[in-house]
Symmetry: C2
């Protein structure tokens, strides 16, 4: 790591974030559970297999069309559990408040948090509240941590992709990022869009069931490492492009995406064009990327589309042999280009 000081790029979820995590955090804290750097760590606790995940939310503004930091703090963490194949059990919630924050605003945020928790079927069972001086935070920052139960036989992860697999997204991408960006009011653009923030617990469960084991080898749990589902990831900070790069690197495969197949709302596409952003890098908060074995694609699509949150599900690409560790985009104009990890931070504090 060459940087001597933290920049906003270290928080963008792209290349600089990956370097910071490798060089500073993983370097000092290395252990086999941390090392995969998945959205959630999965480990054994007594007789059970648990998933644990944590996220700090520093989104600005605190409220935006479709949600608030309160919804986001629940859905973001619940989704990290869901894509790990875990059944979310409980949340912990730690809040850092800025002196001078309006208590009515805080009540609305905690109300949103409670509503999102109820929708996701989890409860907040423990918490913490700290206050820092005026100007040392930005209203409030919320850190949620989720614990969930994982089927002992389930094996999912970014390293499980194999050539021939299909790459799916569960709906139009980029809604959240563009909504938050426009909600800041710095730009003279308005568009009728709202954040896609939502809990993916139900959708993940449908997908797991639909892509269950294809051979009967004595299991009775509905899933196995031989099932058709290789990986699920929610496409938050860094967007779909970042997830696909993580899959390509972790599995040592290539990923080819067809630009025309990627669902993007007209309003989001328009705003992206005006702002010079690529929707593939724009955060979603209620969409996931799934990597699915070829024989399970039809079942996966049908299962996703049966859920309102997956109504716009589509196959956007496929896993290939070569070149390993690389994501390629077949563009609308017939060209091909590399989709690399994000450099810099076009969308600071989006979650």
């Amino acid at each position: 790591m060459r940087d001597t000081h933290i920049t906003s790029a270290h928080g963008a979820g792209g290349k600089a974030t990956a370097t910071l995590i490798d060089a500073v955090f993983l370097e000092a804290l290395r252990n086999p559970l941390l090392e995969p750097l998945e959205d959630a760590a999965v480990f054994t606790a007594g007789a059970e297999r648990l998933a644990l995940t944590t996220d700090s939310f520093v989104v600005t503004p605190l409220f935006f069309p479709g949600g608030s930091i309160g919804d986001l703090a629940v859905n973001g963490t619940v989704n990290d559990l869901a894509v790990a194949g875990a059944r979310p059990l409980h949340l912990a919630c730690a809040v850092i408040l800025e002196e001078g924050m309006d208590v009515g605003e805080l009540r609305r945020i905690v109300g949103d948090l409670a509503g999102a928790a109820a929708r996701a079927g989890v409860s907040v069972v423990t918490g913490d509240t700290k206050v820092v001086q005026r100007g040392r935070a930005d209203g409030c920052y919320i850190t949620t941590t989720g614990v969930g139960l994982v089927d002992p036989d389930l094996r999912l992860g970014a390293s499980m992709a194999r050539p021939g697999d299909a790459v799916l997204v569960t709906g139009p991408i980029g809604d959240h990022g563009i909504t938050v960006l426009l909600a800041r009011g710095d730009l003279d653009i308005s568009a009728d869009i709202r954040s896609d923030t939502a809990p993916l617990t139900g959708l993940a469960a449908r997908l797991l069931t639909a892509t269950g084991p294809h051979s009967d080898h004595g299991r009775h749990d509905g899933h196995s490492e031989h099932g058709g589902l290789r990986a699920m990831r929610d496409a938050t900070r860094g967007g779909v492009a970042t997830i696909l790069n993580e899959v390509a690197r972790a599995s040592g495969v290539g990923v080819v995406v067809d630009e025309d197949a990627v669902p993007v709302r007209t309003e989001v596409r328009g705003a992206c064009e005006l702002l010079g952003l690529d929707p593939l890098y724009v955060a979603c908060e209620g969409r996931m990327v799934a990597v699915v074995a070829p024989e399970a694609v039809d079942a996966a699509l049908a299962a996703l589309r049966a859920d309102p949150l997956g109504a716009g599900a589509a196959v956007i690409g496929r896993v290939v042999d070569e070149p390993p560790g690389t994501v390629l985009l077949n563009t609308t104009f017939g060209g091909t280009r590399i989709v690399d990890l994000l450099v810099g931070d076009p969308l600071p504090r989006i979650c």
Copy 2:
């Protein structure tokens, strides 16, 4: 809650914090696991009983004699598990960084975090990194969440105290709070003290073993609800006074403390006198308060004193019938006064 805006008192761990938590957080998020407001929530996950706890650390300065925010973020969370009677398993760690933070400083903090985790026998298995603009944080804030395993038969808590029980502390109080306050350099006082930040896992385990069940009723696990240990609490923000008030209220009992019996280092007592602080309200980060049945006091003291972290253990008071919900102090000068919950915030951002 009458306040319309957040003040530093809401983060002090005293009366205003309790009101904020009740009126805003508990009100919206109420559930039977959250309601006891213990340091850790204890719940069933499949075949296991787990403890979950979370804390944000916003201490300033980031480094102080005896430790740093890195040590604190591990020990604080590990201790919340330990006093719940849990065996800490793993930690999640979410970091909010201020743009411009020195990477070398961050490395030192993460190094301290790794060292503290190793000493406490836990690993950081998942994490998150966010960056906010310069001036929107203070170097870094760290939120750690811990998960631990709890003996299925163990029943501990602030509501378990009974008249006749003894109240113990495991060593001199107030070292951490005074050390951090002096490290800020705003005061023209210097003293040869250092933070007591330390993991209490070992000490808690010793105490549990030493105060195990007194009657043989077929249990083989070493503890039970009939054991001599009623409650353990680490005396952080709000100090020993806050813990004793929580015990008095939760159990509907009185607590009487003998001022002369409370261990306070000469340097801490001196600084408290100069600053007009009562050591009973000053945070420790490596001390616990234990409530112990009378017949288990000798065994508890012996077990604590056999550990270097408990060498200064002492009985400081006792649980009484009347007046319920109240903590009384027999002062050095022969008087008696009520020790109430902290009002205001004499020591902001101490952890």
